[in-house]
Symmetry: D2
Subunit: 87 residues, 4 copies
């Protein structure tokens, strides 16, 4: 695409810089999409093996918290469930 003039001016330089920034972002976005595809495939494989992927997603979310934090959150939740009669 020859949309840039042959004699670089302040404007054409900015165009080249803008294009470079955009292409860097697009490459990283592409890599992110590829990783997302890979993650999706692992979940499909888990499901095929018989795991409950919804529970696995919860486990992964819980593992980001440290044990004390997680246990405290579960204690409060259990307290509220008891108060509301949710067995």
């Amino acid at each position: 695409m020859a949309e840039e003039n042959t004699e670089p001016t302040t404007e054409t330089v900015a165009a080249g810089q803008l294009r470079a920034f955009i292409e860097r972002v697009e490459r990283l976005e592409e890599e992110k999409s590829q990783l997302q595809e890979d993650i999706k495939e692992i979940y499909a494989e888990m499901k095929g093996t018989g795991f409950d992927t919804k529970a696995v997603r919860t486990i992964i979310r819980l593992r980001k918290k440290d044990q004390a934090e997680r246990q405290e959150e579960e204690a409060i939740l259990d307290l509220y469930k008891a108060a509301l009669g949710m067995e």
Copy 2:
């Protein structure tokens, strides 16, 4: 803004119809925003009363499920936590 002609044509009628549709959506969106504000205020009030709003949000999410569904999900989650040594 006098963007509509005095003599309605097929095009101006479409413009009026388009505008009417848009204004109906905007009114409903406005009501939704107001409700969202009200919900936010209730959570602020709960927090002020000493409740853990994060746990309350979890409770509200859990109450959307029936008891059997919820208990089954919790059983699977506990099984996985035990398998991974998460106490």
Copy 3:
């Protein structure tokens, strides 16, 4: 559900308060869902009338900005599109 004792204690009062907060949030969430359903129906109606709902959504987003803000944003976007040869 008779999960609360007959003699109110600090804990049972908290349970009643917790339940009241939760039910207020649930009612408002229910109203929000109903509004969302209504909005969805208007879009279905628009589509049935021949309008391009994707463009209508863009229009509604643009109408939230004031004219000067919108025009300035469009000017910058046009400048970048020209720099990149996007016609």
Copy 4:
């Protein structure tokens, strides 16, 4: 954590498999977060250079569409804007 027995049984094998799946997902999620950080830094750099990052994000979104599709969308949008008197 010694949550796995010394003699592998059907259950301990499942635990190992579950853990392996989870760790694969976590590694890929970690890589995704890193990429997201890198993208954020590029936008910060763009902003530092004087570019309008909101417009750049729009450009990146538009570049995912082919030219004909984009031009048709813009034509419909311009038609609606004209109908509504949005200059």
